[in-house]
């Protein structure tokens, strides 16, 4: 598999309050964390390239599109950048809703630098893992799509741990034919051992 060239993660700051935005930016500069600022949810949506890893620091309450609305829009567009909400007032109901929708974390203003930086690092690590997993899943699906229906049937049964004899009873074909299908399939998806086949099939079925 071709390893994608790793892009450096960026912390995106979306807050309508310029003072807050710039002060967070100052903090990130101090620890040499690449960061970009946006004054509104729309500005961010227009500029953001979904292939750019990182995380999103988002103010819940903003004029125009609010933080929660941006969260929904990103979900609709299948953009899974981890979101750290920053809220200026403890609106419990709103906070619960954001967390339910899968926000990474929620930090109340004002906050200590360490809390913010730790959370940003964790969110970026999660984003890296998620992206890697999504690449693997896509790749596994692509490889499995090369299989014929019969090969797919054989593989699906084989990875559940059934023996050749059991599979041949199930599908009504000879054990030699099953061997042939399985080797062909393993060759096509590019694995040598059955344990690897099991792992790949697991990814492809996500």
């Amino acid at each position: 598999m071709v390893a994608e060239e790793e892009r450096e993660p960026i912390a995106f700051i979306v807050d309508d309050d310029e003072g807050v935005r710039q002060s967070i930016r100052r903090l990130f500069d101090e620890v040499s964390m690449p960061a970009l600022e946006f004054g509104s949810a729309n500005d961010f949506l227009e500029a953001y390239d979904p292939d750019q890893p990182g995380c999103l620091l988002l103010d819940i309450r903003m004029p125009g599109m609010s933080g929660t609305e941006l969260q929904r829009t990103l979900l609709e567009r299948e953009i899974f950048l981890p979101i750290i909400f920053i809220t200026g007032h403890a609106d419990v109901a709103l906070a619960v809703e954001c967390m339910k929708l899968g926000a990474f974390d929620l930090i109340e203003k004002p906050f200590r630098a360490q809390r913010l930086l730790d959370t940003v690092h964790q969110a970026m690590a999660k984003d890296r893992e998620d992206r890697a997993l999504r690449t693997w899943v896509a790749e596994a699906k692509r490889r499995f799509s090369l299989l014929t229906n019969r090969e797919r049937e054989v593989v699906d049964l084989a990875v559940t741990g059934l023996t050749n004899r059991e599979i041949s009873e199930e599908l009504g074909i000879t054990s030699q034919a099953i061997d042939a299908h399985r080797s062909k399939a393993m060759w096509k998806v590019g694995v040598m051992r059955v344990t690897d086949l099991v792992r790949l099939s697991d990814l492809a079925n996500r």
Partner: protein, 355 residues
């Protein structure tokens, strides 16, 4: 500005009632109306209902009933005795019913006035809660930014890589944040003074002129052309003058701010009464008009399009007007600018202050 007539006192009411009752008796005795002579006593009972003394109507009814029957004995007029008797009894009945119904009606309207005051109190409490949460939000912004700069500076110092210029910049940002926090509190202070609403009758013209004098320097600076068109015939309104002037100042200040860059700068304040109901006050400007498509959102707390606006002026004005039982609405003028209107109860319609 005319002075208010003092509320009718108990003694005055009693005197008027007795006088009227005497007049009706004289009429009854002097004019040979015969059977119907007792009926005008109903009017006496009605007049007595206006007294602040809640027992006066019933007492008046008793007095009038006695006089009605006395009139029968004293009156020289003849007629069929049983018919006259029946008619006098009917008159007494009418007097009694008027007194009872009138008293009931009075009690009901007093109860209503109390409810209205309670409602006003509830809306004040809501307003206070909303304001508190809004203030927390506003103050958190400079606090967060102060904290961030302080942390960034201490990170830099700890790493030993700090230039005096950089440190100075951080310290400057911290000072700016603290100053901003103070400014927010200062702008809010005028709005926060909590006190119960105290209503009394006031002349609208005087209220408006006084409120506008508070803005005279702003008006002069921008050379605003202000016109006040308030007919002298308007009844007075039952209001807390300080609060209503706050509303007038908020609305006029917004209007002036909206006309800052306009060529024509006309501020017109009108007042009118439609169908003897609430008095309506309109503040019309020739400014740039609303910058948001949905005018209703301007009334929300902390909605502002001004660099140093807090966005509480309209929200507070609406609460105040509603606490007085009125409505505050906004509209876009057909040609240019906006008009804000609010209604206030005239003295007659307002629940009595002694309630």
């Amino acid at each position: 500005m005319g002075t208010a007539p003092p509320p009718r006192s108990r003694r005055q009411s009693l005197a008027v009632t007795i006088l009227l009752a005497g007049a009706v008796l004289a009429l009854d005795l002097s004019v040979p109306l015969g059977v119907a002579g007792g009926v005008p006593y109903v009017a006496v009972v009605l007049v007595s209902l206006r007294s602040p003394d809640p027992r006066l109507p019933i007492r008046t009814a008793v007095l009038c009933s006695v006089l009605t029957l006395a009139g029968l004995l004293l009156s020289p007029s003849g007629g069929v005795v049983w018919m006259v008797l029946a008619n006098r009894t009917l008159a007494v009945f009418a007097i009694g019913v008027t007194a009872v119904l009138g008293t009931r009606w009075q009690e009901a309207s007093q109860e209503m006035a109390k409810q209205q005051l309670r409602l006003a109190e509830v809306s004040r409490v809501n307003m206070a809660g909303e304001l508190a949460s809004g203030i927390a939000h506003e103050l958190n912004q400079p606090l967060a930014s102060v904290l961030n700069y302080a942390e960034a500076a201490s990170l830099a110092v700890r790493r030993g890589e700090v230039s005096p210029e950089k440190l100075l910049k951080d310290l400057q940002s911290i000072a700016d944040g603290a100053e901003l926090g103070g400014q927010i509190l200062r702008r809010l202070r005028g709005f926060l003074a909590h006190r119960p609403i105290e209503r009394s009758p006031h002349n609208i013209n005087a209220l408006v002129r006084e409120a506008m004098s508070l803005l005279s320097s702003e008006r002069k600076q921008l050379s605003i052309d202000m016109q006040i068109r308030i007919p002298a015939t308007l009844p007075r309104v039952m209001v807390d003058p300080v609060l209503i002037q706050q509303v007038l100042v908020n609305l006029a200040r917004n209007a002036i701010e909206a006309m800052q860059d306009s060529e024509t700068k006309q501020l017109v304040i009108r007042a009118a009464q439609h169908d003897s109901e609430d008095v309506e006050i309109a503040i019309e400007d020739s400014g740039k008009g609303p910058e948001r498509p949905d005018i209703e959102t301007l009334f929300e707390h902390f909605v502002s399009t001004k660099p140093e606006g807090l966005g509480v002026g309209l929200a507070i004005s609406r609460s105040i007007v509603e606490a007085h039982g009125g409505h505050l609405t906004a509209e876009r003028n057909p040609y240019r600018g906006m008009t804000f209107r609010f209604t206030l109860p005239p003295v007659d319609a307002a629940p009595s202050a002694e309630g």
